[in-house]
């Protein structure tokens, strides 16, 4: 296991280096000019040229890349945003916790709901409820996330008024003291229950929107995996020994049924990260996704590069974590 981890970490370094080179190259090959974008249409050629020099964009490609990578490796400096002049790393740490909170909340929601629904339907296979849930699963996957987000906002904010339109916390509240930088956890730790409730209200719509498609997929995967396991001989033997349905289900069947589900959850996390920006835009959620969209639209290359590297690191790290979880679930797996 230790050797495997070392090998994976070594690979991770290469993957990240490759990502940085590809992204940096693309940013210099595409026919756009961040200096002109910074100056705006009315900046004029002299202003654009001056900005280009200030940003070091007039230097040769290899010099720019080496300087950029040197700053990252030796100073932890991802450069400054062309758009707002703030350090990119500072912006990432400002916006990333909100996205992590949204992603974790969605992941928990879809994991818990998906697995529970999967168990429910697997134990009632062939019935009306099973059919409805399967239709819901197909619908959940088919509905585009942005459309679903707009619909949820329209119904639950616009019509019913049950939830706010968006944002992370009402302006009447102060953010809780930062420990995890996630408002839900921090408000619990600080004992600030009104803040906790308000955060939950703001988190629910975007979290549920993001989770819905994944609930559908996890439900189906859990159902089919569990059905397969429930037909195994050892389950029949367990039942024959007089064990209760719940004990059979949770102690014997579920653990084995969850192995493919864990894989799907890992993949769905990638889906969450990929689509989080759409949900963030519609619900005005101040996360890294909407920050990246703004950076891309405004050709803020340092911000785009920084976010890309960061996101790559998280994704690769999560894949590593999933592999470790496999081993924990199934001791037969070895690397």
């Amino acid at each position: 296991m230790g050797k495997y981890l070392l090998r994976r970490i070594f690979t991770l370094v290469f993957v990240l280096w490759g990502m940085s080179l590809v992204t940096f190259s693309i940013s210099h090959v595409i026919p756009v000019d961040p200096a002109a974008a910074s100056a705006g249409m009315e900046g004029g050629p002299e202003v654009i040229e001056r900005i280009r020099k200030e940003l070091g964009l007039d230097r040769p490609f290899h010099e720019q890349y080496l300087r950029y990578m040197g700053n990252i490796l030796f100073k932890g400096d991802l450069g400054y945003s062309i758009l707002n002049k703030r350090p990119v790393l500072q912006d990432i740490f400002t916006f990333l916790p909100a996205s992590i909170e949204l992603a974790v909340f969605s992941l928990l929601l879809c994991t818990v709901c998906g697995i529970l629904l999967g168990i429910f339907t697997a134990t009632r296979a062939g019935g009306l409820v099973d059919a409805l849930v399967r239709v819901f699963a197909v619908g959940g996957v088919a509905m585009p996330v942005f459309w679903l987000a707009l619909l949820m906002q329209l119904v639950f904010y616009g019509i019913l008024g049950w939830f706010p339109d968006g944002g992370r916390l009402g302006w009447e509240f102060e953010a809780p003291p930062s420990t995890t930088h996630m408002f839900l956890a921090d408000s619990i730790l600080a004992g600030r229950w009104p803040v906790f409730l308000d955060t939950l209200k703001h988190l629910f719509l975007p979290g549920f929107t993001l989770a819905l498609a994944n609930i559908a997929i996890i439900t189906r995967m859990t159902r089919s995996s569990l059905l397969e396991v429930l037909h195994q001989d050892y389950i029949k033997a367990a039942r024959a020994r007089g064990l209760s349905q719940l004990r059979v289900l949770f102690r014997h069947a579920l653990k084995n049924a969850l192995i493919p589900v864990v894989t799907v959850i890992g993949l769905q996390l990638g889906h969450l990260i990929a689509w989080v920006f759409l949900v963030e835009i519609i619900f005005s959620w101040p996360g890294i996704g909407s920050y990246m969209v703004r950076s891309i639209i405004n050709l803020d290359f340092p911000a785009v590069m920084g976010c890309t590297l960061f996101t790559s690191f998280i994704y690769v790290f999560i894949n590593l974590a999933v592999d470790v979880v496999y081993v924990a679930l199934d001791p037969r797996i070895s690397y």
Partner: protein
């Protein structure tokens, strides 16, 4: 069984959609009793803005979305103000009065006394001097609104005494005062105390503001909102009706803007789509205002190939279907231009209307030797800067085809690539989409940058020594009557030379609630931030 389940699911979906549609489009609030006479409310004034400010430093960032929050805490020497008779005048804010020398080079300002910055340091000539030195030293886009050729030397900015500032420009520049209406003043002490590596406090000022303004920055929650609270020590005092708190919420999605406005959760929304205006206007409590703005939409013609001939350019101008663009694309919510200057700008002089006239266009082309068209043009657009540009280009393409002229529409992804494409020597005869927005209420900025032969935005290669001479004269003459005459002559020359076809004059729409009071849209300076001090809100109607 499965089919039945699917059927039930579809029925549920249709039901939800119908209910939602009925609620959304048949929305009606209680319309019974008349609204009581408006009383100032203690609730915060909330605006839904479409673009978050990039930073709070007025010497680094001065686009309209930057200046909106800046203006709450910062103030300029003088500002455009809408008078009771709806005229617009420049009124002194931190300066009581000012005077320019006859040659428009030396400008003297008498500053208002008894004002302090939020950190209790005095507003005086030394502070003003430092602000101007900083503005020019940083040399960012806000400074370039003043032509660099006229910037004062370092010793050209003097604190004559405690309340008198004198600026001696390198060259005469008549509209100097107009360029100052967006130059906000910050506390030198606060910036100096937070300097790093002699950066004039730039890094700190991006996220902090210490000014003389009526509101104190409460918090800036990135990606969410900026909030302000009243400055109890504001020199203007708090008699009368004023907002107690201001919240500028950053909302990127247009659909959310519509919901927020129609539900009354914001007092103003900046992002109601043109197609939604009619429906939104029907909602009780929503007010939709339409205003002229100094923004002119054009398609410039590069002086290449056939476009070197003014008859061909005139033919192009008469080929375009202005009605289709204004009525079809803008749904009638734009005006027909009658000058190379927008009608909202001082010195606008209407010229003879240019109408679509295919017969005339063909005749002109034949006179110029292009009877059957037979040449190809490029149409460069930058749709990320103007949603209407693709449709404008398509209308033009169809019109050109009628004359036998083939065209290729090129939608360039960003401003930098757009300018690069325009500067290519082999670009060929081309149209390029452009919208000029006057930075201040004077034609000098527009005319110099767009039509002077060395103008920074003169990508189409227009050259006319007479025009250059008139532009220079207009910039250096203090006599407004003479300037009016000069700019009138310039408009006539430019109109008759057809440097482009002027397709529409934009109009802007303010979509707000009737709970917002004191908001006077400044029709002449589109990048102007509202004067927050004059605004207040009444309680929401149920």
């Amino acid at each position: 069984m499965v089919k039945r389940s699917i059927g039930i699911f579809i029925l549920i979906l249709v039901g939800v959609a119908f209910f939602a549609g009925w609620q959304m489009f048949g929305w009606s609030k209680a319309q019974g009793a008349e609204q009581a006479a408006a009383k100032a409310s203690s609730r915060p004034m909330v605006w839904a803005v479409k673009t978050e400010t990039r930073g709070l430093d007025p010497h680094q960032f001065d686009y309209d979305y930057d200046q909106k929050p800046q203006r709450a805490s910062l103030e300029p020497l003088m500002e455009y103000t809408v008078m009771p008779d709806r005229s617009v005048k420049i009124v002194g804010i931190l300066a009581e009065s000012w005077k320019g020398s006859p040659d428009a080079r030396v400008w003297t300002f008498q500053l208002r006394k008894g004002i302090k910055f939020h950190d209790n340091t005095p507003w005086n000539a030394q502070a003003a001097k430092w602000n101007f030195e900083r503005l020019f030293a940083l040399n960012k886009v806000p400074a370039t609104r003043i032509p660099q050729t006229v910037w004062p030397e370092k010793d050209g900015i003097e604190a004559v005494d405690d309340l008198t500032l004198r600026i001696t420009l390198k060259k005469p520049f008549a509209p100097f005062i107009e360029t100052l209406v967006k130059k906000y003043m910050i506390s030198p002490s606060a910036a100096k105390a937070n300097e790093k590596n002699n950066d004039w406090g730039q890094a700190w000022c991006v996220e902090n503001m210490v000014g003389t303004g009526p509101y104190l920055l409460e918090k800036w929650v990135k990606g969410q909102y900026v909030s302000f609270k009243q400055n109890p020590a504001y020199w203007g005092g708090w008699g009368g009706k004023h907002a107690q708190r201001i919240i500028l919420r950053y909302v990127p999605e247009a659909a959310t803007h519509r919901l927020l406005l129609t539900k009354g959760d914001v007092d103003l929304s900046e992002k109601i789509e043109l197609d939604d205006l009619d429906e939104v206007a029907k909602v009780p409590g929503v007010v939709v205002e339409q205003h002229r703005v100094p923004r002119l939409i054009h398609l410039y013609m590069t002086e290449d190939g056939p476009f070197k001939d003014v008859r061909v350019r005139k033919a192009m101008a008469h080929a375009f279907d202005y009605d289709a663009f204004i009525k079809g694309v803008w749904k009638g919510r734009a005006a027909k231009p009658l000058s190379p200057l927008p009608s909202a700008v001082w010195s606008f002089t209407p010229q003879p209307e240019i109408k679509k006239d295919s017969t005339l266009a063909k005749k002109l082309l034949a006179e110029a030797g292009y009877a059957s068209g037979s040449f190809t043009v490029n149409i460069y657009i930058l749709s990320s800067y103007g949603w209407f540009q693709p449709r404008e280009a398509q209308i033009l393409q169809a019109d050109l085809k009628q004359l036998g002229i083939e065209s290729k529409i090129m939608d360039i992804p960003d401003a930098g690539a757009f300018i690069t494409a325009l500067k290519k020597p082999d670009r060929g005869p081309s149209f390029y989409a452009w919208t000029f927005a006057n930075a201040y209420d004077d034609p000098e900025d527009n005319l110099r940058r767009s039509y002077r032969s060395d103008g920074s935005l003169n990508y189409f290669g227009y050259k006319n020594p007479k025009v250059d001479e008139l532009i220079d004269k207009g910039a250096t003459t203090l006599d407004q009557k003479e300037r009016l005459r000069i700019y009138g002559e310039l408009q006539k020359i430019l109109w008759e030379e057809y440097p482009g076809l002027f397709s529409a004059e934009e109009q802007w729409f303010i979509t707000r609630r009737d709970t917002l009071h004191g908001y006077d849209f400044y029709p002449f300076v589109i990048n102007m931030s509202p004067n927050w001090y004059l605004m207040w809100v009444s309680d929401k109607t149920p």
